[in-house]
C-alpha cells in the first residue's frame, strides 16, 4: 500500500504548495490561470478504488481552495474531473497489453493517449471551474476564451511536467 501510493501522497502536497505559492500568482494576459494541481488526479494509478479517487480529488481541491479563499470552487471541479476519469480511461482506449502494472503516463501509454486523456479531463475541470466562478451567462464570450486558453495552458504544463518526471522504461 505504502509503496504504491507513497509517490502519490508526496505529489499531493508538492502540487498544492506549487499551485498556491507559485501558479496562483501567474496570470497570462490578465486572467488565464493554470491549475497544474490536477496533475495529481491524472497520475493516480488505474487500479485506484473509486472512493479513494473521489475523496483525494475533493481534498486536493479543498486544499487549494483554503489558500486562495475560493472555498469549494476547486473542490467541485476536481471531484467532477475525478468522477469522469474512469469513463475517459475507457474511452481513450484501455491499455492494449494490460499487465496490471501500467500507470497513466507517457511512458506506459504513449504520447497520443496521454494527450487525449489529459485534454478531456483538464477541459472538464476548467469547464466546471469557470462556470461556477462566473455563474452569469452574460459573460459567456469571456468565459469561453478563458476556458479555452486556461485548458491549453494547463495541458502544456502537464505535458512538460510529465516529461520532466517521466519514469524511464528499461
Amino acid at each position: 500500500m505504502n509503496s504504491t501510493y507513497g509517490k502519490d501522497i508526496l505529489r499531493f502536497f508538492v502540487l498544492i504548495a506549487l499551485q498556491v505559492l507559485l501558479l496562483d500568482h501567474v496570470n497570462l494576459g490578465g486572467y488565464i490561470n493554470p491549475s497544474l494541481y490536477v496533475f495529481f488526479i491524472l497520475l493516480l494509478p488505474f487500479e485506484v478504488p473509486g472512493w479513494v479517487l473521489l475523496i483525494s480529488a475533493f481534498l486536493i481541491g479543498l486544499g487549494v481552495d483554503i489558500f486562495s479563499n475560493s472555498t469549494g470552487l476547486n473542490a467541485a471541479a476536481s471531484v467532477f474531473m475525478a468522477y469522469i476519469r474512469p469513463w475517459v480511461v475507457r474511452r481513450a482506449g484501455a491499455p492494449a497489453d494490460y499487465e496490471g502494472n501500467l500507470k497513466p503516463g507517457i511512458a506506459d501509454m504513449g504520447f497520443r493517449w496521454f494527450l487525449l486523456y489529459s485534454l478531456i479531463l483538464i477541459f472538464a475541470h476548467q469547464l466546471v471551474l469557470s462556470l461556477l466562478d462566473a455563474f452569469r451567462f452574460a459573460e459567456i464570450g469571456m468565459i469561453s476564451i478563458r476556458l479555452l486558453l486556461s485548458t491549453l495552458f494547463t495541458l502544456s504544463l502537464v505535458i512538460i511536467a510529465e516529461y520532466l518526471f517521466m519514469r524511464r522504461r528499461k
Binding site: 496562483d24 489558500f67 470552487l73 473542490a75 468522477y83 469571456m142
Partner: protein, 276 residues
C-alpha cells in the same frame, strides 16, 4: 429496504460523487462574510503563517519598485506641507482649529496574498483586529483604490478587491464633478467600469475618476483611474465607462487601510432619515 440498500450500493460512486459535489457547492453558495470570517479565523495561523513567510521572501524582488512608489508619494506629501507653501500673510495669529478635526486614520499593511484571475478576488493583509482593523475599512495604495475590508481575524484581514462582482463604490469624474458607481464586470484586471453617469454630459477619454467620499468608507478624492472607453448601452440613458485602474492590482505590496472615525455617526444619521 434491502432493494434500496442494494440500489445505493450499486451506484455507490455516483452517490459519493453527488455528496462531494453538493458539499462543495454548498461551500460556494453559503460563503457569507460571517462564514468567511469563521474560516479565516480557523485557518488563520496556518495559511497566514505560510503566506507571511512567502511574502517576506518574494517582497525582496519588488523593493526597487516599491521604493520608487514611496519616494513619489513622499514628494507629493512634501508639497502639501505648510512649510513648502509661500506665506503671503505677514501677520501671525493662532487659531484654535475646531473645524478640521481628524476624520480618517491610516494604517500601513502588507499584502500577503492576492488574486486577480477569479470572478471574485480577495486580498489578504498581515494586519488584523489586534492592529485596529475592522470591517468596512477602505484600502488603497499610493496609486489608487484597492478594495474594502470584509473580514478580520486577530492577525490578518481579508479585503474584497475592486476586482469582485460585489464591488460597488461611489466615485466621480473630477473635471465635471459627475457622480457614478464603480463596478467590475470581469475580464481584464486592469479595467473597471463606471456606471450611472447621465448620457448628456461630455466626457473625454483621459478624464480622471476618484472616490466621492459618499460611501462612508473611502475618503474623498482617492484616485480610481482614467477613462478609456465611453459608450451607451442600447436603451440606456447612462454611460457605461471603461476606465483603467490607476493602481496595478496585480502587483500590490504595501497598502493603506483607512478608518473613517465618523462612519458610525454618518450611518446613524442616514438611518434616522430612512426610518422616518
Amino acid at each position: 429496504m434491502r432493494y434500496i440498500l442494494a440500489f445505493i450500493w450499486r451506484y455507490k460512486y455516483f452517490f459519493l460523487f453527488l455528496a462531494l459535489e453538493i458539499a462543495s457547492i454548498a461551500l460556494i453558495i453559503n460563503k457569507s462574510y460571517y462564514q468567511q470570517s469563521v474560516i479565516t479565523n480557523a485557518t488563520d495561523g496556518f495559511t497566514g503563517g505560510i503566506y507571511n513567510t512567502w511574502s517576506d521572501i518574494s517582497s525582496y524582488f519588488k523593493l526597487k519598485k516599491e521604493n520608487e512608489r514611496l519616494a513619489n508619494e513622499n514628494a507629493r506629501l512634501w508639497q502639501k506641507l505648510t512649510d513648502s507653501q509661500l506665506t503671503t500673510d505677514t501677520a501671525t495669529r493662532r487659531v484654535k482649529d475646531t473645524l478640521y478635526g481628524q476624520q480618517y486614520t491610516y494604517t500601513v499593511a502588507k499584502v500577503i496574498s492576492n488574486s486577480t484571475t477569479l470572478r471574485n478576488n480577495y486580498i489578504m493583509l498581515n494586519k488584523g483586529r489586534r492592529h485596529g482593523i475592522v470591517r468596512d475599512m477602505a484600502v488603497f495604495n499610493p496609486n489608487g483604490i484597492v478594495g474594502t475590508v470584509v473580514s478580520v481575524s486577530d492577525n490578518f484581514s481579508w479585503v474584497m478587491s475592486m476586482l469582485n462582482q460585489h464591488t460597488k463604490l461611489s466615485a466621480r469624474i473630477n473635471r465635471l464633478n459627475q457622480m457614478g458607481t464603480i463596478v467590475w464586470n470581469g475580464g481584464s484586471p486592469a479595467i473597471g467600469t463606471l456606471l450611472d453617469i447621465p448620457a448628456h454630459v461630455k466626457i473625454k477619454k483621459g478624464d480622471t475618476i476618484s472616490t466621492s467620499g459618499f460611501s462612508h468608507i473611502f475618503p474623498e478624492g482617492i484616485m480610481a483611474g482614467t477613462v478609456e472607453k465611453i459608450y451607451v448601452e442600447s436603451g440606456d440613458h447612462f454611460y457605461t465607462i471603461d476606465f483603467r485602474f490607476s493602481a496595478d492590482l496585480n502587483s500590490l505590496q504595501y497598502v493603506y487601510v483607512v478608518k473613517n472615525l465618523l462612519r458610525e455617526e454618518e450611518i446613524d444619521l442616514s438611518k434616522n432619515v430612512v426610518n422616518e
